[in-house]
């Protein structure tokens, strides 16, 4: 028997062993929750139903995966590791240089494209569910990017500032009757104020602790919104929030409405298109401010803080004010986004500001590559657009049967993607943002391979 054949048979034996182990573990993993289903019967008592077919499929898939992994993938990886290291695959120069202007051009003409393709009634869904929804998350991602991506402070309660913005707008607009354009900056300022307020006590904390405390603050704000019924109306939320106007001209069917003033037939599409450009402008504004801030001393200080907090302090950077400005700036943009959200929905309730929202925004920033603007935008499109697309996949019902509801799998896939991308590319899927300034001498090993500075 030749050496190669012997190695192959050894591999085969090992693969069989791994497959057997995977089968046992997979069986134990999925037996209780996949193999059995608990459903209430007519007397409302729980009874068991078996789903051994599904269980068998799950176990078979896992067994096959473990078998192939040991037999095919592991030797292939080992062979590849022996080859001389190649330069990491670079995106072609022309693509990386032209991507941003091209993408910008596309989002600018997106409503027009959709209108010509689907007509006014179909376009409403595509502009609202995809365009506006994604752009809100792009904006939130840009805002959180300042805190997480630039300053390196993991904030798991970012949605609290979004909520502050939304409730500020809703309450002030309803009680004082101020216009959207006056309240937009005000909501941002209020959110920034809360950012400083919540930022102060957590300044001494680092890394994981900071993340958990911000999570606690986020939950506290949500619980207060639920329980402070005289002001926030609790779970029921606030309805009838005034909608934004076209610089004073309301979008309604009246004689002084937008359609009548411009001599157009009334259609809800005008408001949607206007909201689309409004949030696009806000998101671009956020991106622009971030770009400029990165060139200011405070932006450099944020990046230095992300890389190494102790070195930062040793160099005389005031870490307190650096962290607080990051918190406040990030919160301010969340406030803008929140007031836009309230104005777009016309209704807000604490349900829109759960931890899941914070996790979504964190996922967008992390998956896009912390600190990278284009990365965040692409990640937001992929994550939010991807999950919205799941709603449209009706043909899956024909494959998996009537009860199959793809929307259920939205957050499941989302969580899985977070784990998978952390393992596969912990520095982000799209791109990484190196510090804007650094010593020209390169270190012998990449920054990705060493532990990050504390913080």
């Amino acid at each position: 028997m030749s050496g190669a054949a012997q190695a192959r048979s050894l591999n085969f034996a090992a693969a069989c062993k791994d497959a057997g182990a995977a089968a046992v573990i997979g069986f134990a993993l999925f037996l209780p929750l996949v193999g059995f289903n608990t459903v209430p019967n007519l007397n409302n008592e729980l009874v068991l139903q078996t789903r051994f077919g599904t269980l068998g499929t799950f176990v078979a898939i896992i067994t096959a995966a473990a078998f192939l992994r040991t037999l095919v993938v592991a030797p292939w990886l080992a062979r590849r590791a022996r080859l001389p290291a190649r330069a990491p695959g670079k995106i072609p120069h022309w693509l990386s240089r032209r991507f941003a202007p091209f993408a910008l051009g596309f989002v600018l003409i997106y409503p027009a494209i959709v209108l010509t393709l689907t007509g006014p009634s179909g376009a409403l869904k595509w502009i609202d569910n995809f365009g506006i929804q994604i752009l809100i998350y792009v904006m939130l991602g840009f805002g959180l990017n300042i805190v997480v991506g630039l300053a390196g402070l993991l904030d798991l309660g970012y949605v609290a500032f979004y909520a502050v913005g939304a409730y500020s707008y809703a309450l002030l607009a309803k009680t004082l009757g101020l216009s959207f354009y006056m309240l937009l900056p005000l909501a941002g300022i209020l959110a920034a104020f809360w950012g400083i307020l919540l930022g102060f006590p957590v300044l001494r904390l680092r890394g994981d602790y900071l993340a958990i405390v911000t999570l606690a603050f986020g939950e506290i704000i949500r619980l207060v919104l639920i329980n402070w019924i005289p002001v926030t109306n609790g779970y029921a939320g606030i309805s009838g929030v005034p909608r934004p106007t076209f610089f004073g001209i309301p979008f309604n069917a009246n004689d002084d409405g937008f359609a009548a003033v411009f001599g157009l037939p009334f259609s809800p599409i005008y408001r949607t298109i206007f909201l689309y450009y409004l949030i696009l402008a806000l998101a671009l504004f956020t991106a622009f401010v971030t770009l400029r801030l990165r060139r200011l001393p405070v932006g450099r200080a944020w990046e230095a803080l992300r890389e190494d907090e102790i070195a930062c302090r040793a160099l005389g950077i005031n870490t307190t004010s650096t962290k607080l400005t990051a918190f406040a700036t990030g919160a301010c943009f969340a406030g803008f986004a929140g007031s836009f959200f309230a104005a777009r929905q016309g209704f807000i309730s604490p349900d829109s500001f759960t931890f899941m929202e914070s996790a979504t925004i964190v996922a967008i920033v992390v998956l896009g590559g912390m600190g990278s603007q284009i990365g965040v935008a692409v990640a937001a499109v992929a994550m939010v657009g991807g999950t919205e697309i799941l709603r449209e996949l009706d043909f899956l019902k024909e494959i998996f049967g009537k009860d199959f509801d793809p929307v259920q799998y939205r957050m499941l896939l989302f969580g899985f993607a977070m784990v998978a991308i952390m393992i596969w590319k912990p520095r982000g899927l799209v791109s990484t943002r190196d510090p804007s300034v650094f010593l020209k001498e390169r270190k012998t090993i990449s920054r990705d391979l060493v532990k990050e500075g504390h913080g």
């Binding site: 904390l205 329980n227 784990v419 912990p426």
Partner: protein, 305 residues
């Protein structure tokens, strides 16, 4: 006085459950320095495993003895939850050791979302409730006006928690496994040089944490009789609060912290308002981390450059 003693009894019961979950957080943090955000969802999953096992035992096999059924459920839940947590550690956390600091936390958050939604998809979004397994109570004192009672359910929670904590304490402090664990906590590289299999020790830590969470999950199911796929998050954060309050990394601290959180929550609900009881728990977390980050029994964190 009667109200006070009654709330004390209720608080200790709730605190026992938090304490059992908190040990999982504190051990994992002690050994690899990560906040295992998915631990609360592992607890929730264990309650579901217990639910399915219980239904198999009572409706299929027809075991009538509640004690025997509970014992089997406890063992099955502990074993299967350990398998779940071992798999999570192996595939979601182990590849990230030595990666940048926030990577394991983000992976754990993803895992937490995944687990909760997996249970939702697999078992449906509705609350699952079972008829009460154990009823009856001891009247301690107080006569007819306000009888202070210790229900049999509460007694079971106390006894099971005490017995398993004693067994767990024995494993950690008296066996070679426990020594290996403490060695890895102090210095993983040195422990590895001395012939300790670090990967295996970390895996066993996750298994121990999961089995205690499974005990908590079974007791939770028995005590409340309901379980829902989103039940992992809030008890998880509260148990983490307990671990932080007791001093993260300290095992007795986790139990003390759990009891304190349980007591604070019950007394808050009894004397103030139930609306803000979660706010109280979250505020304690924030206040402890800000003013007493080393907790009650923890060592102060020395900053090294």
């Amino acid at each position: 006085m009667e109200v006070f003693v009654q709330q004390l009894i209720n608080g200790i019961t709730l605190g026992s459950i938090y304490g059992l979950i908190a040990i999982g957080y504190t051990m994992v943090f002690g050994i690899i320095g990560m906040v295992n955000f998915a631990h609360g969802d592992v607890f929730m999953m264990s309650a579901f495993i217990a639910l399915v096992t219980l239904l198999i035992l009572t409706t299929w096999i027809g075991i009538s003895s509640v004690t025997l059924a509970l014992f089997i459920v406890l063992v099955v839940a502990m074993v299967l939850t350990s398998v779940v947590n071992w798999t999570i550690e192996r595939f979601a956390y182990r590849p990230l050791r030595g990666s940048f600091r926030l990577a394991p936390l983000i992976s754990a958050i993803g895992m937490s979302i995944f687990l909760a939604n997996f249970v939702q998809v697999a078992q449906g979004p509705r609350v699952k409730s079972i008829p009460p397994l154990v009823s009856g109570e001891f009247v301690l004192f107080g006569g007819d006006t306000y009888p202070v009672t210790l229900s049999h359910k509460q007694l079971i929670v106390w006894v099971v928690t005490a017995v398993l904590l004693a067994a767990f304490w024995y494993v950690v402090s008296k066996t070679s496994l426990g020594r290996a664990q403490r060695a890895c906590e102090q210095d993983q590289k040195m422990a590895a040089l001395l012939g300790i299999n670090v990967d295996r020790t970390v895996a066993i830590t996750f298994i121990l944490g999961a089995s205690l969470a499974a005990v908590a999950g079974t007791l939770y199911l028995m005590f409340y009789g309901v379980v829902h796929f989103s039940d992992g998050f809030t008890p998880g954060v509260k148990a983490f609060t307990a671990a932080v309050l007791g001093g993260i990394g300290s095992l007795p601290g986790a139990v003390i912290g759990g009891l304190l959180i349980g007591l604070i929550e019950t007394f808050w609900s009894a004397y103030f308002t139930t609306d803000y009881k979660d706010v109280a728990a979250f505020s304690i977390l924030a206040i402890t981390l800000i003013f007493l980050p080393q907790g009650i029994l923890g060592r102060p964190d020395v900053e090294k450059v």
